[in-house]
Symmetry: C2
Subunit: 725 residues, 2 copies
C-alpha cells in the first residue's frame, strides 16, 4: 500500500463533513468501541467491545507500530508479523550480491540465525494514552495571534514529550484529534533491537509489482516476520548477542480456518492521514486544482527524467524508484480525480453542510457557540489557497536533490544555535539518526544531469509567474529577471553542479557539523543559494505557522459543531486518521468495480499460477511454489467451497496508508490475514468512504500458512505460533 | 470487431485439429443444422432446424452480406440493420463540414430523405449454393505438379464464376471448405443501390472507441440501418430516383422483450477466416514466431511513424488510422500470445493428433487411405516456413505506400496483356472499381518523410539477412551490397521521393492505362524499382502457387482423415470459416476473465452514463441520451430484473471478423440484438474455441429500440418493423 501520507498542499490535518451513519465506515479509537457495541455484536463480533477498548490487554496490546506500518505479536517470544513491503528495507539491508535475500527470501531456522533489521528499525508497543487536551488548552487565550498560538502549543507539546521520554525506553508523541479539538499523549515502548526472522521471496511478497499495486484481482504474499529483542532486564537496548526475545503481554492466535464471503472481520492499526471532514470548498479546490496540477507536475517530472536518462542508462537505474514513486502518485491522483468526477461526494458534502447550518441556526445558543465557526474556517481556507500555485510549484522545485539538501543543512546549523528543546521538530537530537540517513541516501538516487534538467523544467514555469509570486534570490541566481532563457539557465546549473561539493556524501555529512558562519562564507553554489533563500523561507514558514495557529483554533470549533450535531442525531463520530491506533470493522465482501463486472472476494492459487510470467520482474514466482500448485499439494489449506487455497481477499475495512501490516481479525480476534492494500476505486477513501467501492485487500492466513508449510519449510515458525485448526 | 482477416504469413485456409465435442463451438453450414437437431432443441431452439437449413426460406433468406459484414432484413420494404462500424464509410461519405453525420447521427424521416451509401456498397442476398466439388476435382490427376494443380483449379473456378455472372444481377464465388475437400458455388443477388436510412451519433455507435474495442464491460450502440433498392422490374440497378425498395422474401421480427441470462441465442452471418484445424507444428510456429515477430514489427512501425511525425503534426493526422490499425493488431497478437502461453491449446492439439494417428494405424485400410496425409502436410508446412523470416519482413517493407502502388500498377499492365478471363484475380475488369479506389485512397494516408523512414527502418533489418534471402534488385537500388549505411539509404529515399510522380493521385490513375513498355522506359524511381523487382516477385509468386497447389491436395486429405475419425465417434465437423454463410448457437452467459473477477452478462444505461467523459473523443455521449438516463426515461424497455435498460450483453456464440452486424436471434429467430465484437480473451478464438472464455458481445435490441424511441425519435422505423412486445 502506497497511499498518500503528505503532500505539502494537502497536509493540514482533516476537518469537514462526512457520513458517519454508513455501515463499515470509521477508524475508531479503541475507547470508542463500547459505543458501537450493538452494531459490532449484530455484525458478529464475539469479543466484548469493552475488552478491546483497553490498550493494555488482549487483543490491543498485541498490535504494534513499526513507525509507518503496523505489525502484531504472534508468539509469546516476540515474534511479529507485518507486510513484506514494511520489512523491505531490512531484507534489502541484509542482501548482498552473493546472498540475495530479496530474490531468494530468508528463513532463520532458529533464533541464532535471525538477522538485524535495517538501522533505525523500531517496534513500538503502545503502553499508555493520556488525554492532555486540558493541559494543552489551558492558558491558550483566544486573544493569541496565530503564530503565538502555534508556538504555545508546540512548546507545551515539546515539554510533555521531553518529560515522558526521560526514560529512554520510551518514545512519546502528542497526537491531535479533530484538527486540535483533543490532544493525547501516547507513550510507546520503543524496542530497538529488531531482527528479521522470515521473508518469502520477493516474487511472492511483491508478486504483481507496481502493475498490481492498488489493483484487484490480486495474488500478493505480502508478509514478513520480525522478532523484538530486549536486554536481560526486559528493557529496550541496542543490538547485542546477549539480548533476549521480548515477551509481549499477549499475542494473536493465527487461524488456519480463515474466513469466507460475508464473515465479520476487523483490523487494528496505525492509519496515517485522512481528510474526511474537509469543507466542500476544500474538496473542490483539491479535486479540481491541487490533484490535477500535482498529477501534471509528476508526469512532467517523469518525462523530463526519461528525456535525459534513456532507458537502460545508469542514470535511469538511479532514478527508477523516483520514477516509480512519481508514477505511483500520478496514478493515485488520477484515480481520485476519476472517482470524484464520477461520484457525488461534493453534492453529499454540500447537503450535510446545509443541514449542519440549519441545525446551528435553529437555536440561538447554537448560533452563539458555533455560528462563526464555518465562516471563519472558510476564510482561513481561502487564505491558504491564495498562494497555492506558487507553493505547489515551489514544492516540486524543492523535490530535486541538492538544493533541498543544502537548505536542510543550513537550517540545521541555525537550529543548533538553540537549546535542543527549543529547536524546530525534525532538527532535535532525537531526529539526527533519520537526518543522517536522509543525507546518505541521496547518493543512490541522484544524477547531476537529471537534477539540472528537472530544475530547469520547473524554473521555466516558475519564471512565468507574476513578480509578486517570485523569489528575488531565485531570480537572481538563475537570471530570470528578464524572462527564462533555457541556455543561460542550463549553463548556470551545469556550472553549479560542476563546482558544488554536495554531490559527495562525505561532504554533506561534514556540513552537518558546521556553523551558520561557515555556510555564509561558503562558495558552494547550492549552499550560496540556500543562504540567499533563507530569509524568504523563514518568512514563508512564519506565515504558514500563523495560518496553522489560526486553523488550530478554527478547525476544532468547526469540528465541535459537527460532533454536537451528530451527537444530537445519536451518531458517534470518529476522528480523521492521525497515525494513532484505530480499529475498523466490516465484512469479507466483493464489489462491482464497473457496470458489467463483479470483483469476487477471493483469489486462488490457480489464479496466481495463471498470472506467472517466467523471467518477468513483476510476475515471476518461485519454482517450488509453481510446482506445489501444479501438483495441487494443498494439504489441509484447501477450502472445499473454493476448490483451492485462497490467496488474497476483499473486505470492507476502512483503512489508509499506515494500516499496512495490520492484522485482519475474525470475530474471536484471531489473525485471519494481513491488510496490505486497498483497491483502485477506494483510493479516494482518504476523502470519502463509499460503501459500494471501498475495499481493503488482505493476504489470507491460509495462504501464509500454506507457503510456510509447503513452499518455504517454515515449520519452526508454524510450531512457535498458536495456529487454530 | 476488427479481427484478423489475413496476414500473409497466416493466410492459408485452416486445417488441423479442433474440439468438435464442446458445447457452443462451431460455425455451421445451414445444411448441417438438422444433424444438430437434438442439441439445438435441448438448448431451447423452437424453429425446426430443417427449416433453417434452406437458404431460400425464413430465417436464412433474411440474412444478407455486405461484403465483409453481415446484415439482416427487418421490414418487407428492404430495410436492413447492421453495425455502425459496417456502415461507417457510408456515414462518412455523406458527411461534410456543415453537416457532420458521423458526429450528429442521421435519420431519414421518409424514403425520400435516404442517402446513397458510399460508392461500391452492395447488399448480397444469397440465392443458391451448389456443391461443385466434383466439377472442380474431375480430371485433377494426382500426377499434376503443384502449380499445374493450382492453375487448373483457378481456371475451373473462373469459368464457373464467369458463367454464373452472365446475368449481371448476380455476384458468384467459389468457396473452398476444409482446405479444398469441398467446393461450393454461391450465387448472390448483388443489389447496388444501397441507401443510408439511420445511424445514431458516433458517440453512441462507436462509444468507447479503440479503448473499449475487444473489451468488456461494453456500452456501444453499434447499429445502423440501410435500405436496398432495385429497379421497377425488381432487378439490381445503379442508383436512380426511379428505383423502388427491394422486397425481400422474408424479414426478421425485432424483439422488444429481448433475452436474459442463460437464454438460448444464435446468429447467422458471414465469418471470414479461422484456423481451427491447423497442425500442432503450425500452432507452435505461429504463436512462438509469427505473432511475436509481427507484433514487434508493428510496434517498430508505430515508433518510426511517431518519431518522424510528432503528435499534432499534419503528417501524424494522416497516419492516425495507420497507427490505430497497427496498434489494434499488435494488441490482438498480444492477446493471442498471452492466451496461448496461459492455455493448453497446444497440449490438446497434440493429444488429438496422437489419437487420430492411433485411429489411422488401427486398420490397414485407414493406413492406406490416410497414412501419408499427416506426414505430407507436415513436410509442406515445413517448406512454407522455410522462407518466413524473409517473407514477413518483405511484407512489412511492402506495407509502405509508393513501392507497392508502383508494383500493383506494373502488374496491372502485365495482366492487361491477357484476356480478361485469364488475368490474375484482383486484376480482372470486375476488380477495377476497387483497384481505382485503392489508388485514390493513398493520398489521405501518405507522407513522403514517413514513408521513407519506415522503409529505411525495415531495410536496415533486411540488410542483416544472409545473401540467400536478399533480393539483388533491392540491394542495388539502396546500395546494400556492402551493408546498411543509414545516410546513404536516407539520401536515396529522399531523392526517390523528390523525383517520383506517384505521390500524385492523377499520375497514379494515369499509370493504370499504360503499357508494360511505358513502365520499362520510365525514369520514375519507384516504377524503376518495381520493374527491377518484377521477375523476382513473379518467381516468388509461382513458388508460392506451387506450394498452394500441393497444399490443395494435402490439406483435404488430412481433413478427410479428421472428418472420418470424428464421424466414427459420431461427431459432426464444421469447416473453418471462409466468408460463407454460417450459423452459430449458444447462450447468454458471463465469464470469468481472471481469477477474482466475474464478467456479468449485461451492462446498463447507468453504466454507460458512468463512463461518459464530456469532450473525450471516445467516451462522450449525446446530451439527449445522458438526459434520458438521468431522467430515467426508460419506458417499457426497462427490465425489472436488471433495474435498467440493458445495453450490451455477452454470449457464447462462436464468431470471428465478418460476423459483424449478424443478427443475434432468440429461440423463435426474432432479432434480440446485433453481434459486434468478441471479448479480449477470445481473440485466440480464431485458433481455438474455449467454452470458458469465448464470448461474443451483442448490442441489445432493447437498447436499440430505446435509443430510437427516446433519443433519436426514429418512430417511423419502429413503425415499419415488426416489433414483438
Amino acid at each position: 500500500m502506497k497511499k498518500i501520507v503528505s503532500v505539502s498542499a494537502l497536509a493540514i490535518a482533516g476537518m469537514g463533513l462526512s457520513l458517519p451513519g454508513l455501515a463499515n465506515e470509521g477508524m475508531w479509537q479503541p475507547h470508542q468501541l463500547p459505543q458501537l457495541e450493538k452494531t459490532l455484536k449484530a455484525m458478529g463480533l464475539k469479543v466484548p467491545p469493552k475488552k478491546m477498548s483497553t490498550l493494555t490487554s488482549f487483543p490491543m496490546n498485541a498490535i504494534i507500530s513499526l513507525g509507518g506500518c503496523t505489525a502484531s505479536f504472534v508468539s509469546p517470544k516476540g515474534l511479529a508479523v507485518t507486510n513484506h513491503h514494511c520489512a523491505y528495507g531490512s531484507i534489502q539491508y541484509n542482501s548482498s550480491a552473493e546472498k540475495n535475500l530479496l530474490a531468494d527470501g530468508f528463513l532463520a531456522k532458529d533464533f541464532s540465525q535471525e538477522l538485524p533489521a535495517s538501522p533505525g528499525s523500531r517496534v513500538y508497543v503502545t503502553e499508555s494514552l493520556e488525554n492532555v487536551s486540558d493541559k494543552i488548552m489551558s492558558g491558550l487565550s483566544v486573544e493569541l495571534s496565530g503564530s503565538e498560538r502555534y508556538q504555545a502549543i508546540e512548546t507545551k507539546e515539546k515539554d510533555m514529550v521531553a518529560a515522558c521520554e526521560q526514560d529512554d525506553s520510551y518514545r512519546c508523541e502528542i497526537y491531535s484529534f479533530h484538527g486540535g479539538l483533543e490532544y493525547y499523549l501516547i507513550k510507546q515502548l520503543a524496542i530497538r533491537d529488531v531482527r528479521l526472522v522470515y521473508a518469502p521471496a520477493a516474487s511472492v511478497g511483491k508478486f504483481g509489482g507496481d502493475t498490481d499495486n492498488w489493483m484487484w484481482p490480486r495474488h500478493t504474499g505480502d508478509w514478513s516476520f520480525y522478532r523484538a529483542y530486549v536486554n536481560k532486564d526486559g528493557k529496550p537496548a541496542d543490538f547485542s548477542k546477549d539480548n533476549v526475545p521480548y515477551e509481549p503481554k499477549s499475542h494473536l492466535k493465527v487461524s488456519a480456518k480463515g474466513v469466507k464471503d460475508g464473515d465479520f472481520i476487523m483490523a487494528a492499526g496505525y492509519p496515517g492521514r485522512t481528510n474526511r471532514y474537509r469543507t466542500s470548498a476544500e474538496v473542490v479546490n483539491n479535486f479540481t486544482w491541487s490533484y490535477p496540477t500535482a498529477k501534471r507536475y509528476r508526469e512532467e517530472y517523469i518525462d523530463t527524467i526519461k528525456s535525459v536518462a534513456p532507458a537502460g542508462s545508469d542514470e535511469r537505474i538511479k532514478y527508477a524508484s523516483t520514477i516509480a514513486s512519481l508514477a505511483n502518485y500520478a496514478k493515485n491522483y488520477g484515480s481520485m480525480i476519476n472517482s470524484y468526477n464520477k461520484g457525488d461526494m461534493l453534492a453529499r458534502k454540500k447537503t450535510l453542510e446545509a443541514e449542519l447550518q440549519l441545525w446551528i441556526d435553529a437555536k440561538p445558543e447554537r448560533k452563539n457557540q458555533y455560528g462563526e465557526a464555518i465562516s471563519k474556517l472558510h476564510e482561513l481556507v481561502k487564505r491558504y489557497e491564495e498562494n497555492q500555485e506558487h507553493d505547489l510549484l515551489y514544492a516540486y522545485i524543492r523535490r530535486t536533490n541538492l538544493l533541498p539538501a543544502a537548505q536542510k543543512l543550513l537550517r540545521l546549523a541555525h537550529e543548533k544555535q538553540k537549546l535542543d528543546a527549543e529547536r524546530e521538530p525534525g532538527y532535535q537530537e532525537r531526529d539526527m539518526t533519520r537526518f543522517t540517513q536522509g543525507m546518505e541516501r541521496i547518493d543512490r538516487r541522484f544524477d547531476a544531469k537529471v537534477d539540472s534538467a528537472v530544475l530547469e523544467h520547473f524554473l521555466e514555469q516558475y519564471a512565468a509567474f507574476d513578480d509578486a509570486e517570485r523569489v528575488p534570490a531565485m531570480d537572481k541566481t538563475f537570471g530570470l529577471d528578464e524572462g527564462f532563457n533555457a541556455a543561460d539557465v542550463a549553463a548556470t546549473l551545469k556550472n553549479m553542479h560542476s563546482t558544488t561539493g554536495l554531490g559527495d556524501k562525505k561532504t554533506r555529512l561534514e556540513w552537518m557539523g558546521k556553523s551558520v558562519a561557515d555556510f555564509e562564507s561558503s562558495n558552494d553554489p547550492f549552499i550560496k543559494l540556500a543562504v540567499a533563500l533563507y530569509d524568504y523561507e523563514m518568512a514563508k514558514e512564519a506565515k504558514s505557522k500563523t495560518l496553522a495557529g489560526e486553523l488550530q483554533q478554527a478547525r476544532p470549533a468547526y469540528m465541535a459543531a459537527i460532533i454536537a450535531y451528530n451527537t444530537s442525531l445519536g451518531k458517534p463520530i470518529y476522528a480523521d486518521a492521525n497515525s494513532s491506533l484505530r480499529v475498523t470493522y466490516g465484512k469479507v465482501k466483493g464489489y462491482q468495480p464497473q457496470d458489467g463486472l463483479t470483483a469476487t472476494p477471493f483469489t486462488t492459487l490457480e489464479g496466481l499460477a495463471a498470472k506467472v510470467v517466467k523471467g518477468d520482474e513483476e510476475f515471476d514466482a518461485p519454482d517450488a511454489l509453481i510446482k506445489a500448485i501444479k501438483d495441487k499439494n494443498y494439504g489441509s489449506y484447501k477450502q472445499k467451497w473454493l476448490g483451492s487455497v485462497p490467496v488474497n481477499y476483499l473486505g470492507t475495512l476502512d483503512i489508509t496508508g499506515g494500516n499496512s501490516g495490520s492484522p485482519a481479525l475474525n470475530d474471536k480476534a484471531e489473525l485471519v490475514g494481513l491488510l496490505f492494500d486497498g483497491v483502485y476505486e477506494s483510493i479516494i477513501g482518504d476523502w470519502d468512504y463509499d460503501d459500494n467501492l471501498n475495499r481493503s485487500i488482505q493476504v489470507d492466513s491460509r495462504f501464509m500458512l500454506w507457503v510456510m508449510d509447503k513452499v518455504d519449510g517454515a515449520q519452526n515458525l508454524i510450531d512457535e505460533m498458536d495456529v487454530v485448526r
